[in-house]
Amino acid sequence: MTGDEAKQVLAEIRPTLLKVAGRIVRANGLSSEDAVQDAYLKALRAIEAGSFPQERGHLLAWFTRVVYSAVYDALRGRARRMARVPAVLDREPADDRPGPLDQLVEWEDEGLIRRSQALLASCIGQLPGEERRAVELRFQGMTNRQIALALDVPLGSVSALFRSVMGKLRRGLAAAGSRADPAG
């Protein structure tokens, strides 16, 4: 999908986008109109920069992400301005630490995303039998109780399995990440 096609899709589903954005914005205690507009413009900018998902069916979910980013910007801006109202034009130390959603709008290369998702699948595939099976069942939406029944283990063992698995997956992902990017 080209940028122009993405913009066209955005224009076609604009009423839906505005509803979605309005809802998220209001849930965050902001006035909807301004922040919704900001989100929409932010999405257009991202598309112009070539930073958007390639599948049409992913645009709404991506736009939701953009809305959260816009909301975050607005909340942060409000907090900073309110802090500075008494002497708004005085120079104060700026808090320029990047926020957790600063990069939210940027859409990573989809090949990279798929590779990291494949990496997760690969790390799961390398787990020992019972742990792998427990994780697979969990990622199919099963509760711990159902997993315990399926594996015929005590309920408490499922939690212990997951604690062990979390450590292994984190280490495995980190090791694979550093192998893929030795400089990073």
Partner: protein, 286 residues
């Protein structure tokens, strides 16, 4: 960033609330991708029917209205989650408002606590307007004070309010007015008129004394206004050469927004008027 699915392995995390949070949160697309990657199986042919059959219940009561097996169908067919997201965000009932609020509180924690309102009555009033009606209303109010001649007895605190107003609000107001005018312009001549009007407004504001700003801030705002004038004039020419109104509108919105965003990101540390800040869009990119 670690995979979102790892959250499901944490102690005490339940499947339905976890999934509901992601349905209304910013990372659903990543979650769907991860589920698809680890599942590695074809979608169930009739999985979509489940959603359609349960739509009303889900919208009213959330995923609690699904059986465990139905929830598992969603996990095995993650593409359905994208459809479900649209439903709950567009048509979901009060239950989903609660999920949204909870999700927002988790995700959107401002980097620093919001300080108490300043004691000055004029400012308090303005910030109260802002908190109830939004920054846009406040910006509109400021613009109204700036450009509409007013009797000196009316709104005695207005001047004081403006004196403390961040300069980015001037730009926000301009951006907003421009957007409103361009959005209303369906035909080329209307858009041309709107662009010309905003071009003139920029010129008027740039020539105004703007006593509420410090010297450096005033210089920076004038520089921004001048940049904006240039961009608007360029789009006016493009429109005259036969471009579509929506194209021009989109470009103008995008450029103006990048300028406003720059100021919102950093309303205090305004660039020196003689410098070209890296993050300000340049004429070349237009």
């Amino acid at each position: 960033m670690p995979p979102h699915l790892l959250g499901l392995l944490q102690e005490g995390v339940e499947v339905r609330p976890w999934l509901e949070r992601h349905l209304v949160g910013p990372d659903l697309l990543a979650v769907v991708g991860e589920l698809a990657a680890v599942s590695g199986r074809e979608a169930d042919a009739d999985a979509g029917g489940l959603l359609v059959a349960q739509r009303t219940e889900i919208l009213e009561h959330g995923l609690a209205s699904l059986t465990d097996e139905e929830v598992q169908v969603l996990f095995r067919n993650p593409a359905l989650l994208l459809r479900l997201q649209e439903w709950v965000l567009v048509d979901g009932g009060p239950y989903w408002d609660g999920v949204l609020s909870g999700s927002a509180n988790r995700v959107l924690v401002p980097p620093s606590p919001v300080p108490k309102l300043p004691a000055r009555p004029g400012l308090s009033r303005l910030w109260a307007v802002a908190s109830h009606a939004g920054i846009a209303a406040m910006a509109a109010a400021l613009m109204w004070f700036l450009i509409v001649p007013r009797p000196p007895t009316e709104h005695p605190t207005a001047k004081e309010d403006i004196a403390a107003a961040p300069p980015d609000l001037l730009l926000s107001t301009l951006a907003r007015q421009l957007d409103e005018k361009l959005s209303a312009a369906r035909r080329g001549p209307d858009a041309l008129a709107a662009l010309q009007q905003m071009h003139d407004t920029c010129a008027t504001l740039a020539a105004a004394p703007l006593p509420q700003l410090s010297d450096s801030a005033r210089a920076a705002v004038r520089r921004d206004l001048s940049w904006l004038q240039t961009q608007i004039a360029a789009q006016r020419r493009i429109l005259e050469q036969g471009a579509e109104v929506w194209q021009v509108r989109s470009t103008v919105e995008s450029r103006v927004h990048s300028l406003v965003s720059t100021r919102w990101r950093d309303p205090v540390d305004l660039p020196d008027a003689t410098q070209d800040p890296d993050d300000l869009p340049s004429e070349d990119t237009f």
